[in-house]
Amino acid sequence: MTGDDSGPDVDAYVGLGDWTPDSLVVPGEVRPVVSAPHPVLSRAAEEVDPTAKETVQLAADLVATMRVSPGCVGLAAPQVGVGARVFAVDVTGHPKAVTVHGTFVLCNARVVEATRWKPGREGCMSVPDLTGDVKRASRLVVEGDLPGTGEPVRLVTDGFEARALQHEIDHCAGLLFLDRVAGAHAVYQRKVYL
């Protein structure tokens, strides 16, 4: 077995524990989603205090907005007009998902290990009319902080959830999938709207 095949160091895994969106306590409000071109989508977002009241509210709002948006598997704060490094992800029930951590929100997330790059088609609520082919790591280790408790987590995931995480972490860095498409003919007019 080569180093590349050994995969991430699972011993260092610190999961979500018993965190759920209910841990946020505050009710989430649905916020309007901004579309490109919008400057907030192209700026690197700011690090946040995961225990701050406004971060907790933002986390709850991201979950609420994601849940009312058909087909939405992730939503980052810049997409609701807030330049903060916070995003929600939920790939539960998606046919392409393998590892699934349910609904969660991460603050200040960063990729610490990315391997086994594979192409795949992506869309984005902030680029509603286009999709694109993007290569992403299908094995991923991400570190971040949970909103509310501020507890650090280290998530190990793969496949579709790994893709969703990389897409949202990109949003927090001011990048869209358009910035990573594979070539001149790798962007498509969306044919199916969920």
């Binding site: 071109p37 509603p128 869209l176 962007v187």
Partner: protein, 170 residues
């Protein structure tokens, strides 16, 4: 052997590809490289074929154009042979509010750095304009080029990224 460059463009309708390809096939023209796509409701074909003389093809395509819905051009070209790559392949992505001159300004920066655009497409989706260019760059210019691209993109109020193209060799 004649090599011909043919363009056909017109309002999209079912059957344009079949009609044009049939005309060419009946003349013994062999289709080599082509792109055929729909651009905002217009169907656009650009193709290279080998075989008959250009006047012959032009005459054969004339009835299609006669309805006024299609514009066809035919021109003899000199076979170039294989063009060696001018450098390392990169992908430039540009997106932002639509305005005049984005493609002109951004590709000029590429050319000034010795780059050669080998493939390019643009999309206008609502007010979002997207340019994707594949470009061959001389070795070692990418780092300074990205600064110049950022400066020009800043003047245009658009975003730009430049990344090495994935060779994706099996």
């Amino acid at each position: 052997m004649n090599e011909l460059a043919i363009t056909v463009i017109g309002r999209d309708r079912p059957g344009i590809v079949a009609d044009v390809a049939e005309v060419l096939a009946d003349l013994g023209a062999n289709l080599t490289d082509s792109t055929m796509t729909r651009l905002r409701g217009h169907f656009a074909m650009t193709l290279i074929c080998t075989g008959p003389a250009s006047a012959e093809v032009e005459a054969a395509l004339a009835p299609l154009a006669a309805e006024g819905q299609l514009l066809a051009t035919v021109r003899a070209v000199t076979p170039d042979g294989e063009v060696p790559p001018a450098g390392e392949p990169y992908v430039m992505a540009v997106h932002g509010s639509d305005r005049m001159g984005i493609v002109a300004a951004m590709t000029r920066v590429l050319v000034d750095a010795g780059g050669n655009v080998t493939d390019l497409s643009t999309r206008l989706a609502g007010s979002l304009y997207v340019v994707l260019a594949e470009v061959e760059l001389p070795a070692g210019v990418a780092d300074t080029l990205i600064d110049r691209l950022h400066r020009t993109a800043g003047e245009l109020g658009v975003e730009v990224t430049l990344r090495p193209a994935d060779p994706d060799l099996l």
